[in-house]
């Protein structure tokens, strides 16, 4: 579903590759024992290593390696048995060592791929180029003092995974779908919380345009894009900017640009010529990281069912549509909820209740599933009452609303409010007789050929019974009486 963009000289194709920095879920930092938790008081989680005191040495956090390998396997990627930590050298106050320990020529994870779900109901494969481990920098605070900048080193040395995609992404929708799927996978794996607001997932977007199928254009790298929406907006802006330049006879400059969410524009940070010379070289304080096949196999055995596997299983096992399956697997908790609801029940009905009723109402109330007043077992109980004709589908919606308010079980509400469906033939007949007696004109008209009046009679009966009469039985008896 490549999104072509119309320019004055014809269509343009968008080519996008993404670099996502994902903070590894871990108790301590990549090379030190300091806590990696978010939100502590400034500089309260800084070890001597993180502050780059003289003579301090990094020691690799094994758990972070486990998380990276787990993520690599979750991205269907090759795991490199030997990888190397290198130093990326540059000066900045929030980089105490004067270098960032990263992986450069030999990353821990190699090529892989993920499947993204597009708005038109199709899927597409996006290649993963690599994943490597690196240290995060600290944070510079420029707004705490009129002339000075402050530095908070809490984040300094926390483990990041940089996940690089192939330039397979063809537009803002695909970019959004890629980012969402990546975040979903990381959350399933428990390797990153995917929280873009807290900065634990950040995206750099490489964008270029070309004539469809033509030579690749010059790309610009857009930094500071911190939400799925911002990614889409930044792409829209940048694509237009590049097309205007090219159609005006200019050339796109290879550069790093910053997304300004306030002004909704990208602007130049530094050109290729101004780019740092990072002087990468293998970190002599660390030995190459060597993994055995046994280790990799063990990590693989620990993998949970991943979103795409779950999606395909839901479609096959439950006969769900791609759309329904995609919605249900978007969060692990949601998928679990659905599987509890549907256990022993019709999957399409269960999916319908979860997606259209529950998620809709939760969304309206600004809640998520973990704050749902209705448990999966309770929702299953409601569906059971419909299935065994205790209540009609219409009444069920009222019961559902009541459950959402009170968290009570469906049978209790039905009992309490006397909502049980009337299935007693004699009782229904009595009401029908009364309705027919009260409307002799309409009975005559119906019999004279005004078939449409059948609905009027049904409505009257339901009104008289407070909606509790079994609709099928009402239809059946009415038909009999009116012939």
């Amino acid at each position: 579903m490549a999104q072509l963009v119309k320019g004055q000289t014809g269509d343009w194709e968008i080519v996008i590759g993404m670099e996502v920095h994902a903070q590894v879920t871990a108790n301590s930092k990549l090379f030190s024992g300091a806590s990696a938790e978010f939100g502590a008081a400034p500089n309260s989680q800084v070890s001597m290593v993180d502050a780059a005191m003289p003579g301090m040495l990094p020691v690799l956090n094994e758990h972070c390696v486990y998380q990276a390998v787990r993520t690599g396997l979750g991205l269907n990627s090759a795991i490199n048995k030997t990888s190397v930590f290198e130093r990326k050298n540059y000066f900045y106050p929030d980089l105490p060592q004067g270098y960032q320990i990263s992986q450069y020529l030999h990353p821990v994870v190699g090529e892989g791929k993920i499947e993204i779900d597009l708005p038109d109901g199709t899927t597409k494969e996006i290649g993963i180029t690599r994943l490597h481990l690196e240290q995060d920098a600290g944070k510079s605070l420029h707004d705490q003092h009129p002339t000075k900048s402050y530095v908070d080193l809490n984040r300094s040395g926390c483990a990041l995974m940089e996940i690089v995609s192939e330039p397979d992404i063809r537009g803002p929708d695909e970019a959004a779908a890629y980012l969402s799927k990546l975040r979903m996978i990381l959350r399933y794996l428990g390797t990153c919380d995917g929280n873009m607001e807290e900065g634990s997932m950040r995206a750099d977007v490489n964008i270029s345009v070309r004539k469809p199928g033509g030579e690749l254009g010059t790309r610009a790298e857009i930094k500071n894009v911190n939400s799925v929406k911002a990614v889409q907006q930044a792409i829209d802006f940048e694509v237009q900017r590049q097309i205007e330049i090219l159609e005006g006879g200019g050339t796109v400059v290879q550069e790093t640009r910053l997304w300004d969410p306030g002004k909704m524009e990208t602007r130049s940070m530094r050109s290729k010529e101004e780019a740092h010379d990072y002087r990468y070289f293998p970190d002599p304080d660390l030995l190459p990281l060597v993994l055995t096949q046994d280790y990799i196999d063990n990590v693989a055995n620990d993998l949970p069912e991943l979103p795409d596997q779950k999606k395909h299983r839901f479609m096959e096992e439950y006969g769900l549509s791609l759309y329904d399956a995609s919605v249900l697997i978007a969060e692990q908790q949601r998928a679990e909820y659905f599987e509890t609801v549907t256990d022993g029940r019709d999957a399409k009905i269960a999916a319908n209740w979860v997606i259209n009723e529950l998620l809709g109402l939760l969304n309206k109330n600004g809640k998520d599933l973990s704050g749902s007043p209705i448990s999966a077992a309770q929702l299953g109980g409601l569906i059971d009452l419909i299935a065994d004709n205790t209540i009609s589908g219409k009444i069920a919606k009222d019961v559902f609303a009541e459950m959402f308010e009170t968290s009570k079980d469906a049978p209790a509400i039905v009992e309490e409010k006397g909502l049980k469906q009337v299935t007693d033939t004699g009782e229904i007949e009595k009401v029908i007789d009364a309705v027919l007696d009260a409307n002799p004109d309409n009975v005559a008209a119906y019999k004279g050929g005004k078939d449409k009046l059948f609905g009027f009679f049904v409505g009257q009966v339901m009104k008289e019974t407070g909606g509790k009469a079994n609709p099928a039985m009402v239809n059946e008896i009415l038909k009999k009486k009116l012939t």
């Binding site: 001597m48 502050a51 780059a52 005191m53 003289p54 003579g55 301090m56 040495l57 990094p58 020691v59 690799l60 130093r87 050298n89 000066f91 106050p93 105490p96 060592q97 004067g98 270098y99 900048s149 530095v151 010379d277 002087r279 990468y280 070289f281 002599p284 304080d285 660390l286 030995l287």
Partner: protein, 497 residues
């Protein structure tokens, strides 16, 4: 009572054990000696309070029969080691006044064995130098003088010049050093004492200010092979805080240092170390060493280390490359010197311009250059390949022999100020020590005799990886044969007085 400062470390430990004297007594004797030799500028920080407190504690331990390997023995610590609460400046202005909140693993190991710290020893700034003239705390003067009556001050060598001078001048029973390209072995040779650099990974680098991480290695100075072995024994061992330290048992170095039999051993003589232009006296002492080992029953074998001539150039690419990165942390932001500028860049520039000396700046610039885009492959990668070839040279030599014997340095100690105008000439001091550093191999210098000027000359033994025992054994044999008893005249006159 004999002069306590003239005992060997082993003798002193024996004396302490026999209660001939206390640790407080021998520590005080050394503190007095330090005062008397202050003009040598060997110590940049004296820590008499710490020393006497540690000595007292040691005497109490001894009384309870809980003595460690070095209990009560006063030693000196090179300023490159971080010592908790005591200035650890790496002899640089950029770290002047810096007192770490932590203790280096090696010094902690020494304290755990009961060693007493007399103070911090002068050295070349960040261990970059071969004459101890790049120190921001002034140069060290060797206790040795030429016999020509010139009375010129001589260098003790470098970078561990303070350590070597202190041990030679009886201002410490032993001392720690670090050796990146020869910084223990060359000063040991220049001052007539023993110095051993163990295999890379034998001692933890944690808490030692980094110069060149892939080459830096802690080691020891002593006046005998046994003393250096004893010190090393206490210093060495696996440290999980240093990823490059080796998780392997530390052998009994002292036992190895007492084994003076080389019968049946094969000693390799690398022909590439017979450099043209080498002084006759160095050639002669080398031949003397060969003859001693042969007469002790060793088989002498000519071996070739064909890539030796590339070692120095490769070293002067790799070490500066690593140092340019290791020294990036000295930016004036968190500790040490800060020179405020108009903006951040200017603060960086002024802090580093003022904080670093010329030799450090030279190496940072060389290192930055060789790692730069477009030069990386031609310099850094090439040097790494050379490094591998040099290791391979040693590995094939060790298929034929058990250890190598070479001169330690291409000359005896030179006068302070000599070679200063020519960095290359200064770098050539390390020509015999650098190859073993690049290969990560253990090496030791043992005093073998005096030259015509009455200055010490050393011989170097290079062993297989992890085979310090062989190095010590051959060293002990040479020590016994050489029977080197010379003491600097200024020290001897103090003793007489």
């Amino acid at each position: 009572m004999t002069n306590l400062t003239h005992l060997t470390l082993a003798e002193a430990l024996k004396g302490l054990e026999n209660k001939d004297f206390t640790s407080v007594e021998i520590t005080q004797a050394h503190l007095d000696a330090i005062e008397g030799m202050r003009h040598l500028n060997a110590y940049i920080t004296e820590t008499p309070e710490i020393a006497l407190e540690q000595a007292k504690a040691s005497d109490e331990r001894r009384a309870k029969g809980q003595a460690g390997l070095l209990d009560g023995a006063p030693v000196g610590i090179k300023d490159l080691y971080c010592t908790k609460g005591v200035q650890s400046a790496a002899c640089s202005n950029i770290l002047r006044g810096f007192k770490p909140e932590y203790e280096s693993t090696v010094t902690q190991n020494l304290f755990d064995e009961g060693a007493v710290m007399l103070g911090k020893l002068n050295m070349d700034e960040f261990a970059m130098g071969s004459a101890n003239t790049t120190s921001a705390f002034g140069n060290v003067i060797s206790p040795w003088k030429r016999k020509d009556g010139s009375n010129a001050d001589l260098t003790p060598g470098g970078s561990s010049g303070g350590s070597a001078a202190a041990v030679a001048a009886r201002m410490a029973l032993a001392a720690t050093g670090t050796d990146t390209g020869g910084s223990i072995r060359q000063p040991a040779a220049f001052t007539g004492i023993c110095g051993i650099k163990p295999t890379y990974g034998r001692c933890s680098r944690w808490g030692i200010v980094a110069f060149s991480s892939s080459l830096d290695q802690a080691g020891s100075f002593g006046r005998t092979v046994e003393d250096s072995a004893l010190m090393l024994q206490a210093m060495a061992g696996f440290d999980p805080k240093d990823s490059t330290s080796a998780n392997r048992e530390v052998p009994d170095f002292r036992a190895a240092s007492l084994n003076t039999s080389v019968k049946g051993l094969k000693i390799g003589i690398p022909k590439e170390y017979r450099a043209p232009g080498m002084p006759e006296e160095v050639e002669q002492i080398w031949q003397q060493g060969i003859d001693w080992l042969r007469s002790e029953g060793a088989e002498i074998i000519d071996v070739s280390l064909p890539h030796t001539k590339y070692a120095l150039p490769a070293y002067y690419i790799i070490a500066p490359a690593e140092c340019s990165s290791n020294l990036a942390r000295y930016d004036g932001v968190r500790y040490g010197l800060r020179e405020e500028g108009e903006d951040l860049i200017e603060s960086y520039e002024q802090t580093r311009a003022k904080g670093f000396g010329d030799e450090v700046k030279r190496r940072v610039m060389i290192g930055t250059y060789v790692l730069s885009a477009g030069y990386y492959d031609a310099y850094y990668i090439k040097a790494q390949k050379v490094r591998r070839l040099i290791l391979n040279d040693f590995l094939s030599a060790y298929e034929q022999c058990d250890a190598l014997l070479t001169p330690t340095a291409p000359s005896a100690a030179f006068a302070i100020g000599e070679n200063e105008d020519d960095p290359i000439k200064m770098y050539l001091n390390d020509v015999f020590t650098v190859p073993a550093s690049l290969a990560g191999l253990p090496g030791m210098s043992v005093p073998a005799g005096l030259n015509a000027d009455g200055l010490p000359l050393g011989l170097q033994i290079i062993g297989r990886q992890w085979d310090e025992e062989m190095v010590l054994r051959v060293g002990a044999t040479l020590e016994k044969a050489a029977n080197f008893k010379a003491i600097p005249e200024m020290v001897e006159s103090k003793l007489a007085a």
